[in-house]
Symmetry: D2
Subunit: 292 residues, 4 copies
C-alpha cells in the first residue's frame, strides 16, 4: 500500500521503518526534516507537508506527540484534511484526547474519508521490534483492509467497534494502569527498603509469582534501581496522558482518585526538576517522602 506517515519521533521512525520492511511505499513527513531524511536511506520519500504526504495515499498514519501537533497536521493549511482522497483512511496512532478523536471522526466523516483510532502500547524498544500492541476502532471495513499495516508494526491488534474514540479511552485507561503500577511499586519498594528487604530480591519475588507481567518487570527494575534511564517516555508526556485520562473521565463524570494522586506526583516531579527524566521517575517522589 501507499502510505503517508506523519510524525517520526522515537516511536514513529521505528513504525515507519517496519512498514517499509514489509514492502509498503512510504511518503514521510516530520517537522524536523532531518529525521525524515534518515528514513530516505531506507527508501521513503520525503514530503514537504502533511498535506503532500497524504495526497496520493491509501492511508495516512499519524504518530505525533500531542493534540496540538495532530490538530496542526490535520487542520492547518498545510494539513491533510483536504488532501486525503474520499474513501481513503487516516489511522491515528498518537495518544490523544478522546475529545480530539471525536472531532477527527466527525471531520473525516464530513469529507467521506475514513478514520481509525489505533493507539499503541509499547515503548520505543517495542516499536523497533514490531512488538507493539495496537487497539483499533472505527471503520471496520478499513481495519480489515489495513490488517497488513498493523501486522507490520505490532505483535497483536485488538479490534473494537465503530466508535473510534473508544480506542483512545482504552489507550488512556491502559496508560493510567501503567502509572498505577509505577506508583504502587514505588510505595511498596519504599517500605521494603526501609524494612531491610533487598529491592532486587523483592522484585524477583513479585515478578516470579502474582505479578508475572511485562509491565511489572519493566517498571519494577526501574523502581528497584531508582535509575530512570534510558528515557523511553518523557515525564511531561506522562503528565499529559494523565491529564487526558482525567479529562476523559471528567467528561463522563467518573472520579479517578488514584489518577488524581498520580497527577500530584507528576506535578511534584516537575516542581523538583525531573522534566527531562523518564516518566517512571515519579517513583522518586515516593522515595523522597519516605526520607530515602
Amino acid at each position: 500500500m501507499r502510505i503517508g506517515f506523519v510524525g517520526l519521533g522515537a516511536m514513529g521512525s521505528s513504525m515507519a521503518r517496519k512498514l517499509i520492511e514489509a514492502g509498503h511505499e512510504l511518503i514521510v513527513y516530520n517537522r524536523t526534516r532531518s529525521r525524515a531524511e534518515l528514513l530516505a536511506a531506507s527508501g521513503a520519500r520525503n514530503a514537504d507537508s502533511p498535506r503532500q504526504a497524504a495526497a496520493a495515499c491509501d492511508a495516512v498514519i499519524t504518530m505525533l506527540a500531542d493534540d496540538a501537533a495532530l490538530e496542526s497536521a490535520v487542520f492547518d493549511q498545510q494539513g491533510f484534511l483536504e488532501s486525503l482522497a474520499p474513501g481513503k483512511v487516516h489511522i491515528s496512532c498518537s495518544t490523544i484526547s478522546v475529545a480530539l478523536s471525536r472531532r477527527l471522526a466527525g471531520a473525516h466523516r464530513e469529507r467521506r474519508q475514513d478514520y481509525i483510532a489505533a493507539p499503541v502500547f509499547g515503548r520505543p524498544e517495542a516499536a523497533a521490534a514490531a512488538k507493539l500492541f495496537i487497539v483499533a476502532a472505527g471503520s471496520q471495513d478499513q481495519i480489515g483492509k489495513c490488517e497488513s499495516l498493523f501486522h507490520a508494526m505490532g505483535q497483536k491488534t485488538f479490534v473494537l467497534g465503530d466508535d473510534a474514540p473508544a480506542a483512545n479511552v482504552v489507550k488512556l485507561a491502559g496508560n493510567f494502569l501503567i502509572s498505577a503500577v509505577i506508583e504502587s511499586l514505588s510505595e511498596a519498594f519504599a517500605l521494603a527498603r526501609k524494612s531491610g528487604v533487598d529491592p532486587t530480591q523483592f522484585l524477583e519475588i513479585l515478578t516470579s509469582s502474582l505479578f508475572n507481567a511485562p509491565v511489572y518487570k519493566t517498571y519494577g527494575a526501574l523502581v528497584a534501581s531508582q535509575k530512570f534511564e534510558p528515557v523511553g517516555f518523557k515525564l511531561p508526556l506522562g503528565l499529559k496522558d494523565n491529564r487526558l485520562v482525567m479529562a476523559a473521565a471528567e467528561e463522563k463524570s467518573v472520579p479517578l482518585p488514584l489518577a488524581s494522586l498520580i497527577h500530584d506526583r507528576f506535578i511534584a516531579a516537575m516542581a523538583n526538576g525531573l522534566a527531562e527524566s523518564d516518566w517512571s521517575a515519579i517513583s522518586s517522589m515516593a522515595m523522597r517522602d519516605a526520607g530515602l
Copy 2:
C-alpha cells in the same frame, strides 16, 4: 516429619491436607473442633489445644486469621510457647503484623526454639492445588530442614535472610500491591464502561498485552463482572491487611498515599454493607462514585 498444625480455616485445611498427602504425620488443632475432625478422616490426629498439638513435634505450623488468634495460640496458657521443645521450629504462615512477628522471633529465641515467618500468597483454590507462593525468612538451618514441607504446600518458596519479620513485610507489601491492582482496575473499568467500551473486551485487551499476570486475570474478571463470589478472602480481612501494611509503614516512617486511599475504600465498603463480601468488592465503591 511430625507436625503440629494450628488453624484449619479455608487455607489451613488445604495446607494440612497437602502435608498429610506428602506423608507427614499431623496433629491438628482448630478452635472450632468440627473442622479438625474433618481432617481426622485423612489421617490427622486431633489435639485439645495448641499446647498439645506442638508438644512432641518437629515443627508447628500456624495459619490463623489475625494477630489476636496467633497470640492466643502461642502465648495463652494453652498456647504452645512452653510446649515446643528447644531446637524445634514454629513456622508462622499467617498474615500478621510485623510487630507481632518481631515479638515471636524474640520469644522463641529466648526459649532456644527456632522461628520461621513463612507467609503465603494465594487464595483457597491455590492452597487446595498446592500452588501457593511462600516467602520464608528466619532460621536458615530450619528453612533447609523444612524444605519438603514448603514443597508440599506451595509451587515456589522464596527464601529471605535471618530477619523473620522481613517475610511479613514482603507479604503485606504484596497484598497492598494486589489491592492497588483492584483499585486501579476499578477506576479504569468505571471509565471504560461509561465510555461505551465493553468490559469483557477491555479485560481481554489488558490481560493479553501488558497486564498478562495472574493477578490481573483473577481480579480483572471480578471487576469486569462486578460479581464478587465466591468469597475467597473476606473484606474485613482485606481491611485488616491494609491496616497492617499501614502500621508497618508508619513504624518506618514511610507514607503510603495509595494504601491510604484504599483504606478509605475499605471503610466506605464496610459502611455500605459489604462486610460479608470478598475484599475485591471495594471495587463497587469506584463504580458507585461514578454513578454506575
Copy 3:
C-alpha cells in the same frame, strides 16, 4: 461615573443596583435581555451588545459565569475590546482562569486601555447587601479612580500590585479554601453523627471557639442540616473553580492534593445527580461514603 456593566446574574444584578444607588450612570448588557430590563426600572439604560455598553463609558465592569462568556463579551465581534476608549478601564469581577486574565491584561495594554482584575468573595446575599470582599490588582492609577465603585459594591477592597492575574490567583485560592472547609466539615460531621454527637451542638461548639468565622457558620449550617438550599452557587460552578485553581497550580508546578480530593468529590456529585444543587452538596458524598 458612567459605567458599562456586562453580566446580570444573581451577583451582577445586585452589584449593578448598588452602583446605581450610589449615583453612577449605568449602561447594562445581559445575554438574556429580560434581566437587563429589570434594572431599567432602577434607572439603567440597556445596551444591545457588550460593544455598545462600553462605548462611551469610563469603566466597563464584567461579572460573567466563566471564561467562555467573558471571552465572548470582550473578543467577539460584538465584544467591547474595540469600543472601549484608550485610557478607560475594564474591571473584571468574574472568577476566571489566571490564563485568561493574563491574556486580557495583554490585549488591553496593546490598545492602551487599562485593566483591573477585581474578583469578589461573597454569595448573592452579600452582593445584595454590598458586603462583598473585593481583591483588586492591575493599574494602580485606575484602582484609585474607581475607589467609589468598589466602595459601592463591597465592604472592603484589598489592593494588590500591578500584576492583575495575581488577584485571580487570590480569588481561586480563596475558593479552594472554602471548598476545603466544606470537605473538612463534612468528614467531621459524618464522624460526629455516627458517634452520637448532635450536629447542631457540634456546630455551636466549633463556631463559638476556634472556628468563629463567617465561612464556618455559613457552610457549617448547610453541612449540619444536609440541606443545600437556596442554591447560592451551583455545583458545576464549584467544579469549574476547582478546575481553574488546579490549572493555575499546574502551570506553576504546585501539587494541590486536597484540591484533587475535592475535584473527585465534585465529579462524584455530578455522577450522582447533584448538578442542580448548591456546590456545598459535595458534603453529601462524605455522608454517603459513611453510610449515612
Copy 4:
C-alpha cells in the same frame, strides 16, 4: 475544692496554676518530679503517685500526653482507680482515644466513681491565660458541681450529654479540623507564593474577610512565614491525634480521606527530620512538593 492534679506538662502546669489562683487546694503529681516542685512554690502539695494524689480529693484532674500515660495513672498499681473515693470524680482533660475514654467510663462506673471527659482546645499560651475551650461530657451532676473548676481554667465550657466519649470525639474532630486548616493553607500559600502573591498580604486578605477566625490567624502566620516556633504542640503529638481520629472513624466505619492525606503528611514529615518541630511544620511538605 480539694483537687488531685496529674500531669504537669506545658498545658497541665498552667491549668493547675489557674486552679490554685482560684482558691482550690491542689495535690499534684508529675512523673518528672521537678515540674511538680515548681508548683509547690505556688502552694500545691506534691504527691508520690497518682494513687496518693487522688486519695482524699473531691476530684482528680488528668492532663497527660497520651493513652499510655493515662492508662498508667489510672490502672497501674500506683494509679488512682482504687484510691478515688466513691462519689468523687475523675475529670480527664487529655486528648485520648475514644476507646480509652469508654473503658474509663466503665471502670469508674463499676467503682461508683464519676467520670467526666473534658478535653480542651487551646495551645499553652491559652492555658496560661485561662482561655481554653472545654468540652465536657459525662455525669451531668458532677459537671454542675465542677463548674468553678472549668471556669478557672477556660473561657468557655460546652456541655454535652451523659456519654463521656462523645466529648473525646468532638475534641479529635476539632483537632482534625485544625489540621485541615493547616493543610489547606499550606497548599494555598504554595500556589500564592509561586504566583508572585506576597504571603503576608495574602494572609491579611484571608483573615480580614471570610477566614476571620483565631485558627486561621494563628496557623496562617506560621504557614506564611514557614517558621514553626515556638513549639506549641510537637509534631508526633499531632500525628498521634490524627491516628486517634482515624481510629475513632474506623470504629464507626466513617472514611476520612482528608485525614488520610494529612496522615501521610505527618509520616513524610517524620521521615524528613521534623519530629522535634511544631505540628504545623507539616506545612513544609506542601512547600517542598512545590519545589519551594
